[in-house]
């Protein structure tokens, strides 16, 4: 390709760099009059445009995402996180039952997002003070829709958790702290 000399200039003296930028970034020419009249610039631009169209074609090619990739990632992350799992201890005359904090959190999360107006809930278990293996406190983060009174939504979440979590999991939740993190953008 007779496009460049050693210092990346065309025989007409124009540097190649601005021509490459012109093509790749779709910029206007720095010297339109020269470019319109110069056969070297026109030839170089023709070649650059053809070459760059291949890069643009590659950009448009969809990249198939491996379907199991999220599951593979989460398998590794969950194995890393496993050691921090704690549990509730439910006493019984003939043994003991342990319910992972993760189970309690998941149950509270599902109860919370079932409250109309709540679009996202994240739950963190907080150790009970004084230490009590049958009880825990939770901190709940919510994202809610715009419209309903936020305080009433928080109360509704607290109420449903208070009523249902003991039955569902056996856990005694002593305290439910709620933080409203965001208001969800309306979606079409």
């Amino acid at each position: 390709m007779a496009m460049t000399t050693d210092d990346e200039r065309l025989p007409c003296g124009v540097a190649l760099e601005p021509l490459v930028t012109q093509v790749a970034d779709a910029q206007p020419p720095a010297d339109p009059a020269h470019q319109a009249a110069c056969p070297y610039c026109q030839a170089a631009l023709r070649i650059l445009n053809q070459s760059w169209s291949d890069v643009q074609a590659l950009t448009r090619q969809p990249v198939p995402i491996p379907p199991q990739l999220t599951a593979q990632i989460m398998l590794r992350v969950r194995s890393l996180a496993r050691h921090v799992t704690d549990s509730i201890l439910l006493g019984h005359p003939h043994g003991e039952t342990r319910v992972s904090h993760a189970v309690v959190r998941r149950a509270i999360q599902r109860l919370a997002v079932a409250v109309p107006g709540v679009v996202f809930a994240s739950v963190r278990a907080v150790p009970h003070e004084p230490p009590d293996p049958a009880r825990l406190n939770v901190a709940v983060r919510l994202v809610v829709v715009f419209g309903p009174a936020i305080e009433a939504l928080a109360d509704a979440v607290r109420l449903v958790v208070d009523r249902r979590i003991r039955v569902l999991t056996g856990a005694e939740v002593s305290r439910i702290d709620i933080t409203i993190d965001d208001i969800a953008e309306p979606t079409d």
Binding site: Q50, S51, V55, T59, Q61, L69, M74, V77, F120, V143
Partner: protein, 178 residues
């Protein structure tokens, strides 16, 4: 998928140990992370490994991420570093794999189109790592020069220089192929 929830909320929830929130982040961002890894490494297996490693590092680094930059920028930074490590560890003579391109074009054009795109892929795969990263982020992911500089933790002029050299190499090689 939790489309309405801001990344910052998911990050905070993930920091609190909420794996469902982290999984939502993974679902939201893993296609872009995988695309960058595949474009940089030209190997599906290596790209999958790099994507997994990126999110494992992100999980471990949640406590240090202060949401001062976009989540995507943070993840691009991690995956790019990972890919540069992989590229640096490869033996110089190690052949690069080729991306399998989907064929949905007219049959007569498929072979030529496929060859041209393979040629571009080969040229990109042969670029030095820093140029390859800058070109992939700018041209294939559509980041601005400023965003690329942020991801690569360098200056905008340095990024422009790398991208220019990469573009020139790609254009020369593909023009020669024609």
């Amino acid at each position: 998928m939790i489309p309405q929830v801001d990344d910052r909320v998911l990050i905070q929830a993930s920091r609190d140990g909420d794996l469902d929130a982290f999984e939502a982040l993974v679902r939201r961002h893993h296609p872009a992370v995988y695309r960058v890894a595949l474009r940089m490494l030209s190997s599906e297996a290596d790209a999958q490994d790099a994507t997994q490693e990126t999110f494992v590092r992100a999980w471990r680094g949640l406590g240090r991420f202060r949401c001062e930059s976009e989540t995507s920028t943070w993840l691009y930074r991690i995956v790019t570093r990972r890919c540069l490590d992989v590229i640096g560890a490869r033996r110089p003579s190690e052949p690069l794999g080729e991306i399998e391109l989907p064929s949905h074009l007219d049959v007569a054009d498929v072979a030529e189109q496929r060859e041209r795109l393979r040629a571009v892929t080969r040229v990109i795969g042969g670029l030095p790592g820093d140029q390859r990263a800058a070109l992939v982020l700018r041209e294939l992911e559509g980041l601005s020069y400023e965003q690329v500089a942020d991801v690569l933790e360098t200056s905008v002029p340095a990024v422009k220089g790398r991208i220019h050299r990469a573009r020139l190499a790609v254009m020369k090689e593909t023009a020669a192929w024609r």
